[in-house]
Amino acid sequence: MDRRTAVRETYDRIASHFASTREYAWPEVETFVEGHEGRLRSGSVGLDLGCGNCRHAELLAGAGLEHVVGLDVSRGLLETGRERALEREFDVSLVQGDAATLPLADGVVDIAVYVATLHHLPTRTARRDSLDELARVLDSDGRALVSAWSTAHDKFDETEGFDTTVEWTLPGGEAVDRFYHIYAPDEFEADLEASDLTVLEWELSSGNCYATVAGSER
């Protein structure tokens, strides 16, 4: 089985429990969305790339967009997003897709969050492809927030980026391994710089790298 398929199957297995522990939007994402509300107009499209249970799609839906797309590789996670949207009465268009081969047309996205997902793509090629894909779908005036887990987190002693698995323990005690590429901060920055995205700002916060980016020049 190919490793990208393995990541999908892992999240299908743990979807319900995982989603139940992902209640709140991250403050860094709230700040990003609030800071860009002025750019949004009626007809704008938002994208939550690697949406999981749609906690960040919910933030975008509150910003008055025409469409909010929640895209994830895992059908199980998309179902948790559907439940959340029903319970909390927000609109999200759910799409099953791969972050490295996006099923979205060029330049249609005005605002995107790509949070805690990039590090699950199992090869550097796939990670770089996904950054180029994000650049492709962003409007020329669009903005995105990209985050990934990094070696700066207290959990890690390493200073170079590395591949690992992190266990997810289900309520019955069963542990399920999840693939991660833990980025070194300078490696994260280098991958962004090498991509078609334009880096506007970047920071380390709570052991994660965050970059605010614009799409490619067209």
């Binding site: 190919d2 990208r4 999908r8 199957e9 590789v73 799409v95 099953q96 996006l102």
Partner: protein, 64 residues
Amino acid sequence: MKESLLEILCCPLDKHDLELEDAEYDGDEVVDGVLVCTECGERYPIEDGIPNLLPPDMREESPA
């Protein structure tokens, strides 16, 4: 999915437009049908209202 979503979706492989076939509706929601690439002809199912636009090599059915 809403049919208006077709304006922004595309084939993940070649990025060409998709056409909706065999659609079944519940109000303005498309709950079943197939999205077909106008260029390469690849077919993507809409499963219980959610389009499955994974590239075909990642799409095989996972155990329920």
